[in-house]
């Protein structure tokens, strides 16, 4: 855990702190005793081979496992010092503050406008003018406004996959979260759409803390400030992205980086 010390030396404010996190699917221990500090307004990449637990880890950060029958989470996950798993905490408010973008673009079968304002609406915003403002602001922030402004009231399902994924990001931005979790958001997209998403993530970290699972090490290297490596349900090490890719401290990380694991 030498690298973690290096991050501390940067004296960054922590947005999230994960302590002794365990996730079980029935009897299967999918994430074991993970600890991680997530700095505010930076991009944290989670990497590792398939089945290493990186998505499992990510979904524990906004209590998405609550929706999975048979999944159980122990340990502490805190946002600005408050444990999101504490008794009396409503998972609905947690997911309001910690948004999530999924692997496959999953817009609702509604218009572009209705997709973006879905969150504000469920949180009680009914003023049409206000909703229109939120819609424009969110689409601009997701770099989709120019492509979407003339078809706001057309179905979101007629957009390309890359546009749909940026729409999903706009939809998350519309509820004004503090942290955005992304689960391989570009894995279903072509290279051009992927690079647009990557540029967007670079923009987002000015205002948001981004935690992104990616199966592409090149992507992690391009877009993240910090990288965490997982293997077989263990969090192996964390460091600045350049350190992890140039001089990892753990042999297993090095093996993965140099391509000795699939």
């Amino acid at each position: 855990m030498v690298e973690q010390q290096d991050i501390k030396a940067l004296a960054l404010r922590n947005k999230m702190k994960i302590e002794d996190l365990n996730v079980y699917y029935g009897a299967f221990h999918a994430m074991k005793h993970a600890n991680l500090d997530v700095p505010d307004r930076h991009v944290m990449a989670l990497i590792g081979p398939s089945g290493c637990g990186k998505s499992t880890f990510l979904r524990a950060l906004n209590r998405m496992h609550d929706l999975t029958p048979g999944a159980r989470v122990t340990g502490n996950v805190s946002l600005d010092g408050n444990d999101i798993y504490a008794a009396g905490i409503d998972p609905v408010t947690v997911r309001h503050r910690i948004g999530m973008v999924f692997q496959r673009p999953n817009p609702f079968p509604k218009t572009i406008f209705e997709n973006v304002v879905y969150g504000p609406r469920i949180h009680g915003e009914n003023n049409g003018k206000r909703l229109a403002e939120i819609c424009e602001k969110s689409l601009r922030a997701a770099a989709l406004w120019d492509e979407a402004k003339d078809r706001l009231h057309k179905s979101a399902l007629d957009m390309s996959g890359g546009q749909q994924q940026r729409l999903c990001i706009a939809r998350v931005l519309a509820v004004n979260p503090e942290v955005i979790l992304m689960d391989e958001p570009a894995s279903a997209l072509d290279p051009i759409a992927t690079s647009k998403i990557e540029d967007l993530i670079g923009e987002l970290k000015r205002d948001y803390t981004v935690i992104i699972v990616t199966h592409s090490m090149q992507q992690a290297a391009r877009i993240s400030d910090f990288t965490t490596f997982f293997l077989l349900g263990d969090l192996i090490e964390v460091g600045t992205t350049s350190d992890i890719f140039t001089r990892p401290t753990d042999k297993r990380t090095e093996d993965y980086i140099t391509g000795r694991y699939g």
Binding site: N62, M64, F102, P109, Y118, I122, A156, D158, V172
Partner: protein, 309 residues
């Protein structure tokens, strides 16, 4: 294994023209032909059936027949009130059945998870679904007609049909919801929606097409139901001020029951003709239900999801 085959083909490699290849090709063609015939038989039977009813019943159909009151002793009676009653009982039935069926279906599919209570509800629904409609009719006779002293009534018939069709409509709801991609649920919950908001705003709108299709199809069955209604809604039209009677506590013979009772016990000299005409009208109505189910279902899906399906 596959690689070994490539390296060392069997001594008698099946060529393109070998005896065995030809035999297999013929078998394959034969199988296709048999399967096609079986599938076509379904269509042929339907066409035969419709054709027969048209030939038999067409001469009975007239505006007078479709709107006039039935006669009890003379020729020339119509089926107007029966058509009205069929729709009236159907609407009453849906009024009772839909809320329970949809809410129960939503609960089972979205809330119950896997567990004992869900098993009990599903087992109950399946058991209810296997009760023969004549038995349900006798139950309605005992409870609604005798015990409640409602005599033969539209509401008694509708409640009996509710018992009969509740399982099917619950199943329709469950299947419509099961067809909604899990990603919509995740997306909605991920944006901080509660479960109820997710059901109301993301899931039900996406399921509205298949749900409507299912409801209309079940409606077709309700429309044609006979055995459960003979002893509950009755086999005669209302003796109130008009035979077109909205009072749910009055007797309400439906078209399907009329077909049965005309053939069985009517004194009118043209009973056979009336039965043939009624059968044709009933069949056409049910076919209309089936076609409507498809058209309306896909229109709603398009409207609510912006997607052609």
């Amino acid at each position: 294994m596959a690689r070994a085959m490539v390296v060392a083909p069997p001594a008698q490699a099946p060529g393109f023209t070998s005896q065995r290849a030809r035999a297999r090709r013929i078998t394959d063609k034969l199988a296709t032909a048999v399967l096609w015939t079986a599938a076509s038989t379904v269509v042929a039977l339907l066409l035969l059936f419709i054709g027969y009813l048209f030939v038999q019943g067409w001469s009975a159909i007239s505006w007078h027949f479709l709107t006039a009151n039935p006669e009890s002793a003379n020729a020339g009676g119509g089926i107007g009130p029966e058509i009205f009653n069929s729709f009236y009982v159907l609407i009453l039935t849906l009024l009772f059945t839909l809320p329970i069926a949809v809410l129960a279906g939503v609960y089972l599919q979205e809330y119950a998870g896997i567990g004992r209570f869900r098993d009990i509800v599903e087992f109950s629904a399946e058991s209810l679904a296997t009760v023969p409609s004549i038995v349900m009719g006798l139950f309605g006779l005992i409870v609604f007609v005798s015990l409640f002293h409602w005599h033969f009534s539209a509401i008694g018939g509708a409640l009996t049909l509710t018992l009969l069709n509740l399982p099917a409509l619950m199943r329709v709801t469950q299947e419509a919801l099961a067809g909604v991609p899990a990603t919509y649920r995740e997306a909605s919950m991920g944006l901080g929606a509660t479960k109820w908001q997710t059901v109301l705003r993301a899931i039900l709108p996406s399921a509205i097409g298949p749900l409507t299709t299912g409801v209309v199809l079940v409606s077709g069955r309700i429309f044609g139901e006979t055995a459960a209604l003979i002893f509950t809604a009755g086999a005669s039209v209302s003796y109130g001020a008009s035979a077109y009677d909205f009072n749910p506590f009055h007797t309400a013979e439906t078209l399907a029951v009329h077909l049965y009772s005309t053939q069985r016990e009517a004194l009118v000299p043209d009973a056979t003709q009336i039965a043939n005409g009624s059968a044709l009208v009933l069949l056409v109505m049910v076919l209309v239900f089936n076609v409507t189910a498809r058209v309306v279902g896909s229109q709603l899906t398009k409207r609510f999801t912006g997607k052609a399906s």
